[in-house]
């Protein structure tokens, strides 16, 4: 029986989305995985605009935070220095603000559709993680520590969940009528993740900075496997 699979998200034990892929018709024009943008702790090194892994919204956040960081030293400088220096500092601050604003607008403007969709995918990944994490904790509280959250269904879709003992979390969205896909997620973990990602000596064990899994063998195998189900 063919099953319509909408998307798959993989989260590592640091709650970061390390892999996501959409198979849905509405997302057919963006057949590429979108790793989540780096979390706020990694904001010290903003990725170049061309890397396009982070959202335009986050660029806005970055630019505003830079703006806030740059203002206090400038105003201090202004207070301690002479009038001419002060006006220089003010001009510098104004330039910094303008640059920050320009950067924000340029990125959001040039990003266009691509940034919008990638931002949406990243937001979705975060929302899915939040929902799944809360439900898992709820289930464990009510059903005991040995209980495991399997799936939930709404009128529009069904989310299947599988968690490994190492807190690697798989979430798959399918059509609402699908049967349990737990074994499918288990197979993905055993036959694809372990084989191609874990056993790859070049694959990083941690995915800091939202780089995500970029493993050709894994992606090809996964795509083939999922398309076999549909």
């Amino acid at each position: 029986m063919p099953i319509q699979v909408y998307s798959l998200y993989i989260f590592d034990r640091h709650t970061q989305c390390v892999y996501s892929k959409l198979w849905h018709a509405a997302a057919a024009h963006q057949q590429q995985h979108y790793p989540a943008p780096p979390s706020s702790s990694h904001n010290a090194h903003p990725p170049p605009p061309s890397s396009s892994s982070s959202s335009s919204q986050q660029h806005h956040q970055l630019s505003t935070s830079q703006h806030q960081q740059q203002l206090p030293p400038a105003s201090q400088h202004q207070a301690t220095s002479s009038l001419t220096n002060g006006s220089n500092a003010a001009a510098a601050a104004a330039a910094a603000v303008a640059a920050a604003n320009a950067r924000g607008t340029v990125n959001s403007g040039s990003g266009g559709n691509y940034h919008m969709t990638s931002a949406r995918a990243a937001d979705d990944a975060k929302l899915i993680f939040g929902a799944v994490f809360s439900l898992r904790n709820m289930v464990r509280k009510l059903g005991g520590d040995d209980d495991a959250f399997i799936s939930y269904r709404t009128g529009q879709y069904k989310l299947h969940y599988y968690e490994t003992p190492t807190n690697l979390r798989f979430a798959m969205l399918t059509e609402p009528g699908a049967l349990s896909m737990r074994n499918v997620l288990h197979q993905i973990y055993i036959n694809l993740w372990v084989e191609y990602v874990v056993k790859n000596p070049l694959a990083p064990t941690e995915h800091k900075g939202g780089e995500g899994v970029r493993n050709e063998m894994f992606e090809m195998g996964l795509d083939k496997f999922i398309r076999g189900l549909m």
Binding site: H24, S134, M138, L142, G143, F149, Y152
Partner: protein
């Protein structure tokens, strides 16, 4: 031996817990504070799950196309508003199954059953519980909306219905 319906929780439209009762021993007993937290958490998660719908975009497109074709054929069909996405309806775990019914006014009924219950079974039970709620809570002139449900008749009727249901299985 845990079977049938294990617990009922009612959450008001603001995410507050207004009723909770356990019928079997299949679930861990939580204290009141934990139930309040659970109700609030579920309320939030329910809103998120409604937003996550991946078919939203396609449905909207189809709806537009449908409107377009209907208007081009000259039929005076009023364009129907798309169905709002429903949030979480059924949750499954290894030890229990949770059925959620969201009323038109935003009150949520959470029915915890064992994993063997079918969809239809839980739906019937949910409908009956909602009937009891409408009859003995909403028609109670002393019940204040959105406040905790303290209606003796509701308690009694609910208990007898669930006991009957659980013993018949």
């Amino acid at each position: 031996m845990n079977r049938g319906i294990l617990a009922l929780i009612v959450i008001n439209k603001a995410g507050g817990l207004i009723y909770n009762r356990t019928f079997g021993d299949g679930l861990n007993q939580l204290n009141t504070n934990d139930y309040l937290v659970l109700a609030g958490t579920f309320h939030g998660v329910h809103a998120i799950t409604a937003r996550l719908s991946p078919v939203k975009a396609v449905q909207a497109q189809q709806n537009q196309q449908h409107q377009h074709t209907s208007s081009s054929t000259g039929g005076g069909v009023v364009p129907s508003r798309p169905e709002p996405p429903s949030g979480l309806e059924v949750l499954e775990s290894e030890n229990f199954r949770l059925q959620c019914f969201n009323t038109m006014t935003g009150t949520k009924f959470l029915l915890f059953t064992d994993t063997l219950q079918t969809n239809a079974n839980a739906d019937v039970a949910m409908r009956k519980v909602y009937d009891l709620y409408s009859d003995y809570v909403m028609k109670n002139p002393f019940y204040q909306l959105e406040m905790p449900i303290r209606c003796e008749t509701f308690d009694r009727k609910l208990n007898s219905y669930i006991r009957e249901l659980n013993s018949s299985r």
